[in-house]
Symmetry: C2
C-alpha cells in the first residue's frame, strides 16, 4: 500500500510514528512543508523537515517537541554574548550540526531534495521524506505593529511564532515565492500514485496550507485516484498543540473540527477531502461535516503515546477503505 502524507512538524511526526507501527509494510512518502524554512546566521534551517526526521529517527527531544535530545546550547549562548540578532530561535548545538551539513551541501549546489535524502539516510527513516518544493518559499505573517499603532509589519512566520508567541494580531498570511515555485521531484508522483493520501493533524494554515499552495499540488490532490483522509487538529474547540487558533481566523476559518473540514472542502464539491476524523469530544461535528459531502468519524484523536497514535493511524486507514468502497 502506498500512503502519501502532507506534513508539518510535530503533529505529522507523531501521527507518522503511529502509521509506521500500524502498517510496517506500507510504502510511505512524506511531503514536508518548507514554508517555515528560514535563514539564521546565513544557515538554511528547515524546522518541519527536521522535526519529522528527528522524531522518526529517534533523535528528538520528546518533552520539548522540537530539536534534538541530549542537546546543548553553547553556540547560541555565544551568539547572544556577541549581541547578534536574532537569538530568539532555539538553535541547539546538535541541531546546528544538521544545519551545517545542509548548508555545506546546499552551497555545493545540491537541491533540498538531495540534501534531505542525504540527511535522512543517517536516521534510517522508514519512509521517504521529500520537501514540497526545492524553490525558496517563506511563510510571512502581516501583523499589527506592536510599536507603532495603526501600522503593520511583515514577519517571517517563525519570528511571529517563536519570538512573539503568536501574540500579535494577524492581518494576513503570505507564502512568499509560492507563485514561482514548483513541486519538488517526486511530489506529484507520490500524490498521483498513492493508494491513500493523508492530511495529518498539522496546522491547516501554515503547514498543510503552503504545501497545497505550491502550483500543481492542490490540483494533483483533487485529481488523485486515492481517497484523501484528514485528521482534525482541533479537539474540543481548541488546538491540540501550537497556536492554529490564532491563524484560522486570519483566513476566515472557524476554529473547530467542522471549520477546518469545511476549509479543506469535499472532493464532491471542488474540495480536497473524502474523509475526516474528529475527536470523540467533537462528535457533534460529524453530522455537519457529512452533510458537506465528507465521510466523518469521531475517534479518540489525542496522540499522547505511540499506541494511541497507532490506533489513530488504523482509524485513518479504516476510513480510507470505507470511502473507497
Amino acid at each position: 500500500m502506498r500512503i502519501t502524507l502532507l506534513a508539518g512538524g510535530i503533529g505529522a511526526a507523531r501521527f507518522l510514528r503511529g502509521l509506521v507501527a500500524a502498517t510496517p509494510e506500507a510504502d510511505i512518502t512524506v511531503i514536508g512543508n518548507t514554508g517555515d524554512d528560514l535563514t539564521l546566521y546565513g544557515l538554511r534551517v528547515s524546522p518541519d523537515l527536521d522535526t519529522v526526521m528527528y522524531t522518526l529517527g529517534g533523535g528528538n527531544d520528546e518533552a520539548r517537541g522540537w530539536g534534538r535530545a541530549d542537546e546543548s546550547w553553547n553556540a547560541l549562548a555565544e551568539v547572544t554574548a556577541y549581541g547578534a540578532t536574532p537569538s530568539w530561535f532555539g538553535l541547539g548545538d546538535r541541531d546546528i550540526g544538521t544545519h551545517l551539513v545542509r548548508n555545506a551541501l546546499l552551497s555545493e549546489g545540491r537541491t533540498l531534495t538531495e540534501v534531505t535524502q542525504a540527511l535522512t539516510q543517517r536516521w534510517r527513516l522508514p519512509f521517504t521524506l521529500i520537501p514540497m518544493t526545492n524553490d525558496r518559499v517563506e511563510t510571512h505573517v502581516v501583523v499589527d505593529d506592536p510599536d507603532e499603532p495603526g501600522k503593520q509589519r511583515r514577519l517571517h512566520f517563525q519570528e511571529y511564532w517563536v519570538r512573539h508567541h503568536a501574540e500579535l494580531a494577524v492581518a494576513d498570511i503570505r507564502f512568499e515565492g509560492i507563485e514561482n515555485s514548483e513541486p519538488a521531484p517526486g511530489v506529484l508522483e507520490a500524490i498521483q500514485n498513492a493508494d491513500v493520501i493523508v492530511f495529518p493533524p498539522s496546522n491547516p494554515v501554515v503547514s498543510i496550507g503552503p504545501i497545497l499552495a505550491v502550483p500543481g499540488i492542490r490540483d494533483a490532490v483533487r485529481n488523485a485516484h486515492a481517497p484523501v483522509i484528514g485528521l482534525s487538529p482541533i479537539v474540543g474547540g481548541a488546538v491540540v498543540r501550537g497556536m492554529a487558533d490564532k491563524l484560522l481566523p486570519a483566513i476566515g476559518v472557524d476554529t473547530s473540527a467542522t471549520g477546518v473540514a469545511l476549509h479543506f472542502g469535499s472532493r464532491t464539491d471542488q474540495g480536497l477531502l473524502d474523509g475526516w476524523l474528529v475527536d470523540e469530544q467533537d462528535a457533534d461535528a460529524v453530522e455537519r461535516v457529512q452533510a458537506a459531502g465528507i465521510a466523518c468519524r469521531a475517534r479518540p484523536l489525542l496522540m499522547n503515546d505511540v499506541p494511541l497514535a497507532t490506533d489513530i493511524a488504523r482509524a485513518t486507514l479504516d476510513l480510507a477503505a470505507e470511502v473507497t468502497k
Copy 2:
C-alpha cells in the same frame, strides 16, 4: 607610542599578552593573517584572527592553544555522524557561535574588517585587530599525493596542517587570490604611522608570509619610518610550536634563527628587518645576523607565561629604541 604587529595565531597572541602588559599605554594595531581562512560547511572561519581575539579576550583554551575555553563538541559530533567531510577541523560549539555571527554579517554584505570590529567589541581587546585584506586569499600547499606516488595534490593549508599533521612532503606553497587582493582599510596606514613594527614569532611562511604578499604591504614595511623588529620562531634549531620546520625547506629557508632572519633580510639591503631577537640557545646566530646588517640580540624567547612574554616584549621595544638611535 604606536606599535603595529603582523600576526599569525598563537605565537602572535602570546607575544601580544606580553606587549600589552609591557606597554599598557601604547596604541597597538594588529594586522592579522587571513590566508588560513577557510570555508567549512558554508561557514567562513578565520582561525588566526580568532586565536588572537580569544587569547587576548580571555576566552581561549590555554592548554589546547586554539579555540574556546569550556568548549563542547556536539555540533561536530553530529556532522561526523552524518558522515560529512571534512570533519577533521576542530569546530567547537562555542567557536561555531563566533562563526555564525561572522557568517551572518558577511552574508549581509559587511566586510571582514567590519565583521572583525563587531566581533572584537565583545572581547574588549586592548588593541585594534584588522585583517590583512578583505579579499579572499587562501594558502594552499602542493604536496606529493600519498595515494598516488608521483602525483601531486593541492590542499588548503589547514587540511595539510590539521588533517595531515604536516606530514606530506611539500612541493610548493601558494597564496591563492593574493595577486588581486588589496590591503584592508587601515593596514597601510598602521604600517606608515607606526613608531615600531613587530614581526612576532609567528610562522614566517604561512603567517607573516601571506601578509607581506598582499600587494603593497611589503613595500609599506620596507618604506616605513619605524624600525622593524622580528622575533625568531626557531629556538635551538627547532620550532617552538607548530610545524614551520616542514614549510621552511619548501621555500628554501634554513630552519634556524639565522635562516629566518636572512629570509626576511636587512632593510639596509632591500629586506625588511632592522632588528632580530633570537633565543639565548641561539647566541651563535647573533654574529651572522649582524653581519647581514640586522641588529641582533640573544634573549630568553620562550613565552611560557605572561611575565616571560612581558620581558620579551620589553626586549623587543628596547631593541627598537636601540636601532632608532
